[in-house]
């Protein structure tokens, strides 16, 4: 899957989770950019992505992701397997 397409799907998930259909999400987006993004909603985000893309992140991956771009790197890797 192309990176662009992944970002589009990730954006949809973010919009659903934060209940904000106007939300803009990019490679550099992280918790600092979205006020409601706390550790608890992060759990929801991870789970929603796992459910949508059909794989589970490993612990190290979750702990290591610094922004959306790094998450997309992982997704791209896993869905292209």
């Amino acid at each position: 899957m192309q990176r662009e397409e992944i970002l589009k799907q990730v954006t949809d998930i973010f919009r659903d989770t934060f209940d904000d259909q106007e939300l803009i999400v990019g490679d550099k987006t992280n918790a600092i950019d979205i006020p409601e993004w706390d550790s608890l909603i992060q759990i929801e985000l991870i789970c929603a992505h796992e459910a949508h893309f059909g794989f589970k992140f490993g612990m190290r991956e979750i702990l290591g992701m610094k922004n959306v771009g790094e998450m997309i790197d992982i997704i791209q890797d896993r869905v292209n397997l």
């Binding site: 659903d16 209940d19 550790s39 608890l40 759990i43 929801e44 789970c47 929603a48 459910a51 612990m59 979750i62 702990l63």
Partner: protein, 592 residues
């Protein structure tokens, strides 16, 4: 979207759509019962609370929550807590797990040490419950403990006092004893829940390491569902009665057509065994005070003949009400509600037929309708939905209270508040009505031999006799196949007429019970008349030959606009002039 919250549910979908679900549940604006629930967690509770809210709202309970700070369950219970006091909860849910155990045994511990540990572990909880009772005096729902996800002692882990599994089993037993002796403590059995879900899946250590959830996130809806079931039971929202269909629900087969000899129930066949176990399961509900009723499209005597089958377990006297008739099932349910003096929202309706389930869902308010699929899963589908979450079982209460309970709303008889014609249209029915085709010869012959109820003359035909009829130009022979948005019923109706000059005599008119009350007979009649007119026929004669089983079609020709012209004993002859015939079918799309 609310069906997402019906068992069996998809965890991921519920988690994903939680906000939309909450909006939809609240939009009903109905009368919610407001309750304050204090959740004391020994681990993360956020998602548990959010999903619990959805299930409570679905039960018409609107919760306000207090959630302890992370892991502070014990402190909140023991020490003064002005915020909690001001919140003034109606009940507590203590969400602890084996992650909160403080004194696990080890292989090197002595028996004395372990006994002391068990005692300390239990006393800690006992102190908590006593403190809550003193300060708040309300109900407490308490998790017991799930089993460990590894066993150092292997199979010995549950047997030897030094095993963690053995320790947890003993602790659970102590919890159970306490709950038995204290009506204000209710155990939420996560030992059973986790086993049912799959202990390996439930334990998901990574969700503990990452998020401090004591269970897999995907298991959360199942946990919350269980707690919601208990809470709904506390506030009197348990279902009180099971309303059951008969054919293919309590036995395999159709009693009206197959007779007691033809249905399968009992030890002799695999399916018979499955239905017998299901009957046994249903019958056990009487012991917990649940009322049973029948809602079946059958003549009463056929229904009773099925229920008196020697190998069955349910008997006519097990049921408070038996509705065996040809009325719509939602109307029957409204009558049952009146007769039992219960609201329809006290009922669970069990029927294998998706169309009947649909009619009941649309035509009644609050009836639970489990989507049962095949007999081998009837029990689990009903059981896991938790309709009858009994939180207390007392001998005296059961029989008498359940029979004469006045603690219910009395609903006045409702008129059919939805339009049946519109409902039939919504089924998107399509009928293929054609002259007999070779591919159906076997099915046609079979139908003439096994259809007994909707059968005007009960004439039986062999395949070769059908083939002769097909070759005879002086006959009109049509078969009807009915499909709808739920599926294909196959060939289900036949009409055979023989021609004498400008008169056609109907030798055979039959229809499978599966498609009753759908106006299929109207469609067949229209097609029959059309073909008759093409062949220059002016008059159709219909014959009703009475048998023990076809009482239901005694007035059929009358309802089709025929005039009664003769009678021989209980057999009747009818006549219709085609000149003024107006088509009857308005709801089925017909392909000829």
């Amino acid at each position: 979207m609310l069906h997402l919250l019906d068992y069996p549910f998809d965890s991921q979908t519920i988690m994903k759509k939680r906000r939309g679900l909450k909006r939809e549940l609240l939009s009903f604006g109905g009368n919610f019962l407001d309750k304050k629930v204090a959740i004391l967690g020994g681990s993360t509770t956020k998602d548990i609370t959010e999903i619990l809210e959805l299930f409570l709202l679905k039960n018409n309970i609107k919760p306000a929550f207090y959630e302890s700070e992370f892991g502070q369950y014990w402190e909140d219970a023991i020490f003064d807590n002005p915020i909690l006091e001001e919140f003034s909860p109606d009940l507590f849910y203590i969400h602890t797990s084996n992650r909160n155990l403080q004194h696990y045994p080890s292989p090197s511990s002595s028996k004395k040490e372990i006994d002391q540990s068990l005692s300390n572990e239990f006393t800690r909880y006992e102190k908590m419950w006593d403190s809550l009772r003193k300060k708040y005096g309300c109900l407490v729902i308490q998790n017991n403990f799930e089993l460990p996800f590894f066993r150092i002692l292997g199979n010995l882990d549950s047997v030897d006092f030094r095993g963690r599994t053995n320790y947890i089993l003993k602790l659970n037993s102590m919890f159970a004893t306490y709950a038995e002796n204290n009506a204000d403590l209710i155990i939420n059995d996560i030992n059973y829940l986790s086993a049912s879900f799959g202990l390996q899946k439930w334990s998901a250590p990574q969700d503990w390491y990452l998020y401090k959830y004591s269970l897999a996130i995907s298991a959360i809806p199942f946990l919350s569902f269980s707690v919601a079931n208990l809470i709904k039971a506390v506030y009197g929202k348990n279902k009180k009665a099971l309303i059951l269909d008969l054919d293919n629900t309590l036995w395999e087969g159709v009693i009206g057509d197959d007779g007691p000899e033809g249905i399968e129930i009992g030890e002799e066949t695999s399916l018979g065994q499955a239905y017998r176990e299901f009957q046994s399961y249903i019958k056990m509900h009487k012991d917990i005070g649940i009322l049973l009723a029948i809602n079946s499209k059958n003549d009463l005597e056929n229904a009773v003949s099925g229920l008196t089958h020697p190998d069955g377990l349910l008997r006519p006297e097990d049921f408070q009400v038996i509705k065996a008739n040809w009325n719509n099932k939602d109307a029957n349910i409204r009558e049952i509600a009146q007769e039992l003096n219960l609201g329809a929202d006290s009922f669970v309706f069990v029927d294998d037929n998706i169309v009947e389930r649909d009619i009941v869902k649309k035509g009644t308010q609050g009836v639970a309708v489990p989507e049962i699929v095949t007999v081998e899963s009837y029990i689990t589908t009903i059981d896991k939905a938790g309709y009858f979450e009994i939180i207390e079982l007392s001998k005296e209460d059961i029989v008498r209270n359940q029979m004469y309970k006045v603690n219910v709303e009395r609903k006045t008889a409702q008129k059919e508040f939805f339009d049946y014609t519109e409902y039939l249209l919504s089924l998107e029915m399509i009928a293929d009505i054609k002259t007999f085709e070779s591919i159906y010869v076997s099915r046609i012959a079979q139908l003439t031999n096994k259809t007994n109820q909707f059968n005007l003359t009960t004439k039986r035909f062999s395949q070769s006799e059908i083939e002769l009829i097909m070759a005879d130009d002086l006959t009109i022979k049509i078969s009807g196949r009915l499909r709808d948005k739920f599926g294909d019923n196959g060939v289900t109706s036949l009409v055979i007429g023989t021609i004498e000059d400008t008169i056609m005599n109907i030798e055979l008119w039959l229809m499978s019970c599966r498609v009753l009350k759908r106006n299929m007979e109207f469609a067949m009649m229209d097609a029959l008349v059309e073909e008759a007119l093409e062949k220059g026929i002016k008059t159709i004669k219909g014959y009703y030959i009475k048998t023990a089983k076809n009482q239901m079609v005694k007035e059929f020709y009358g309802s089709m606009g025929f005039k009664l012209i003769g009678q021989e004993g209980e057999n009747t002859i009818w006549q219709l002039e085609l000149e003024a015939y107006q088509s009857l079918n308005k709801v089925i799309q017909v392909n000829v």
